[in-house]
Symmetry: D2
Subunit: 339 residues, 4 copies
């Protein structure tokens, strides 16, 4: 006589209903020819894994817009060479974000495009760097590669000329890095530029590791002859103050690295109104995972132990390529807010 | 006197225009409140990294629908517990795919939902398995966890009763795994079921590792008392024939594993019309990367060395969570084809 | 007057000593010219992240050898083409493992080497598949690529001739997959072969997805003309019985996939002595991470909710390439046990 | 009549011998109770995937020691909390490395341990942050978590007191970040400290993103009352000069991030002796992969297009956790050089 395995196994287990009571069931989404991005993201709320997290990211970023919140954005990874520049600039112009912390490289490539230079797509890296040519050949042609994107040395030559021109206009006074970046942005005119948009809209741009970029390199080269004084630490005051006066504080972290840590460090030390401790909202999109112990992949729960993120914060980590997730989140939130 | 670094460096480099001639420049996409998924994916064609690959996946999957193509789909990873079931079932019903190769687990969880049972969302795993309770506690409650999804032992008890009922109706003849699965599907009625949809629409479903699932387990338990004969190898004939008669062959590979290899193996050995060799289209969505040498993360270029993918195939690998990419690709292609 | 930030922050926090009492401090390891692998692994017990996990894997695998334990090993990923074949064969011969569950591909490549054929190293894949030649060119040369390893079609031709010769010697009776594999192993003579070693040492080898390999392919081709009957489900009985009689059960899981699931599934359903539930030891080495919800990357904690792993089991997951970790673990355990 | 598939397929393919001529065959390594780390790494030269790369890393790092080479080391990720501090300090003391570029966090945690404070191991994060307690609870206890490592706020309070004491001894002149770090190191006495070791051995330590660390935070807090001037860009001169005078230049990159980019940026711009261009040796150990386009995961081939790495450089990228690979490489190289 057959004794059903699962019936035997489940004996004594408490009633299913009571245990799973209050949990939402997974529900499939139906997709038609006219499903909007907003509808799709709403539908994915009842999915799990990455899909559910993407839907939650849309919900949190929407709430960050509708509640009175100071919105910090961290930008790491080569998002500008990848084509995310316009989206980022328009997030600033439409004030979806209020403060930007970025790597130097994204500023460099933003300026290069603002100067009329381009990044080029090779589509794939699977058969050598550029079809059947390799990276050593690219070197002989003055072409530099960023995964499946190429940029010519001429673009960097033009950046150099531009930056040295800007530096000549800078006064002899000591600048914070934020101020230094702002002066550069004032010399740009491209409305699709992240930096130009930020300067126009009074969105401060921080870049603590600016020395680790072509901008830092040219600042140093310039200093061999002229005067240019930029302080390594002055920015912290301004960033901490932005947190201190924030009614609520939210962060959209694209890619980890220094920008994530710099935002979280300020959240940790900033005195907040009574009862507040760290960020109220945090969205993290990263290809790093927690298992190697790196800050880039660290969970937002871990950040709560430090007080970087509030115990009661609304948070989500989406593991994956920000170039995939960012356009979707932006499109869904714009659709939802109709702006 | 300052000697510009990049000017010196680029001396002798060939003319920029000629070298990058023919390459498309990266272009940012503009996103508004009414941007459709199709428009967004079209815009991302001029982005790089994951964004560009996602756009290319949409283009290839669209062409697979408009050209006369036999469309194979590999389904690995816990896509059904994650909520992708309806999307997959409707892809079958609307004949976006013609042949399915899956893991046993996805069939198991598809049947569980077809029987009226549910998977439940816990939203996050960051503080233990279930809020502040751990996995050992879940065990005492008869609850089983799949990352951020829970399912109760009762669901498996119901699956067991259902399967044993089906097995009793099976004749004494030898079945191929595909035939065996089809009989199971004939006993389901839920139109959102992947398996029921496949049976209704004459879409064959292959599952070479069926033994490695609850279905295999119950088949074995049943065989202790009754007769049930399923051959391990018979399916290959049918799968190879599907390739042999395909005017063009395309694959949408969700997640690697056995389904990817089984489709590629058939593509390798199937005799094709003159000049053909392997798949004409291949889209791969995977969280595995090539660097560990695994088949799941192997590039589609590597597959060309084996003849699994045609030298002239249109291919793209999207690195990331299929639960994020699949809904977007499906929505964009449905929007583009207006069906 | 400066008010120290951390002094203010830590006010009211409970006494450090009491809270962190019982936790071991991180301690650096000192490495000299004569540090042995065993000593190094012992030293890394006081490290965190991957280093601490590697040390723990060595400790658990050692205990699995010294306690009376039935040791299951799962082998996924292209470990044989990568050069792990001798290590795996010797683990079997020296009875460090008692039961093997593998992918078909590892058996295929094991047999190829047993027949005197070779895999070849290209060292890197960074400039195309093979220096400046691409995968389409490899195809024209009859060379097949597995990441940075090449194998010639001739090796597969030889495999084919061998397998068909074996099949001709098989009787008309129905075989389980395990029995079928054993017959193949009996026709090999290479002592470095995993399969030959297993057959000689009465270590059963399971391969539930055998159809998804060149062996399955040739079994099917042979069946077009001759008789060969292999049952898809018969193996479960044997595997479950191995668990049922195990005084303790331990698993070394190399790489996830079907082998991991098949071992865990048997652990789930096997009746165990009173109070036992699932594996007593589990070591998992995988490049998959939990965040995508896949079984390959699933934590061993998650497995406890299913009863696949005992609540009180000693477990460790090492995230990384098994070709790096396996030789180290084996060397350390051999050093520690002096055999 | 059976027509062998592979025989048919391989017809026309060129002779196996000629094609694979010159390639080394994969060979298994034999591991005994007394196999040394050096022997094991030598044996793994004939393995592929991660194992072969690890062996190559050992070979390259050995050659960097025996050839006249300036050896740069990049240190990213939480290597000090993970227990790698002693290994790193001894690499400096024994002059296996000549120049260090690090994140601020590794300096912070190095100083904390130099002050007698500890990091603590929790062994696993699988059931909440600390056994069954979560991160919010840790916050109430003044305990901060770094994956599976804990550190108490008291440690940071002690760091703060120490740093403010150091700052008071600094003169009013402008410091480069390297000089600023050196002064801090001069106030330490722990011989196991990375920073103390570097100061004693005249190994310069660069930290371009120092503002993004507790050191930067306290420097800013101090500046609210006292005088402390640290220039953001001055370091580049010194780093570039170290490259310019290097007979050969080699880099051991642990973990990507700013340290990798800063070393590579200096390699790009430094004038080198005739015919030289970029690094002659590069070893990269990273959990990032190239597919997301990030600098951290970028291949060393890509770096050749920029001239950061020489066309003829000996290079290897090992994908994985540096806490696993570093101790092995160090042990093997120390064994090989017998020092």
């Amino acid at each position: 006589m057959y004794c059903p395995f699962w019936q035997w196994r489940t004996r004594g287990a408490m009633d299913e209903e009571s245990q799973l009571n209050g949990l939402r069931p997974v529900k499939g989404v139906r997709i038609g020819a006219h499903t909007s991005i907003d509808e799709l993201m709403t539908g994915l709320r009842s999915s799990a894994f990455g899909a559910g997290r993407l839907a939650k990211a849309v919900d949190i970023f929407t709430e960050m817009q509708t509640e009175e919140t100071t919105k910090f954005m961290g930008v790491a990874g080569a998002l500008v060479p990848a084509g995310m520049r316009t989206i980022l600039a328009e997030l600033i112009r439409d004030r979806y974000v209020d403060v930007v912390v970025t790597t130097g490289a994204n500023l460099v490539h933003d300026i290069i495009e603002a100067l009329g230079e381009h990044h080029y797509l090779i589509g794939s890296t699977s058969t050598g760097a550029y079809g059947d040519r390799d990276d050593a050949w690219l070197r002989t042609q003055g072409i530099d590669r960023i995964y499946d994107v190429l940029v010519h040395d001429e673009a960097f030559a033009r950046l150099e000329a531009f930056l040295h021109g800007v530096f000549e206009h800078m006064s002899g006074r000591r600048y914070s890095i934020r101020e230094f970046i702002t002066v550069i942005g004032e010399h740009l005119s491209d409305p699709d530029s992240i930096l130009r948009s930020a300067v126009e809209c009074n969105v401060p741009v921080f870049c603590p590791a600016i020395a680790d970029s072509m901008i830092g390199l040219h600042a140093w080269l310039y200093k061999q002859m002229g005067s240019l004084e930029v302080d390594a630490f002055d920015d912290l005051k301004e960033l901490v103050e932005l947190f201190s006066v924030a009614p609520r504080a939210g962060a959209l972290i694209l890619g980890g690295g220094v920008p994530k840590n710099f935002i979280f460090q300020a959240a940790l030390v900033a005195p907040r109104p009574a009862g507040k401790d760290g960020l109220d909202y945090a969205i993290q999109i990263t290809t790093s995972t927690p298992e190697d112990g790196s800050l880039s992949g660290a969970t937002l729960e871990e950040a709560k132990s430090w007080g970087k993120v509030s115990e009661h914060a609304k948070t989500v980590t989406l593991y994956g390529d920000a170039t995939v997730a960012l356009p979707l989140i932006v499109a869904a939130v714009r659709g939802r807010l109709n702006r």
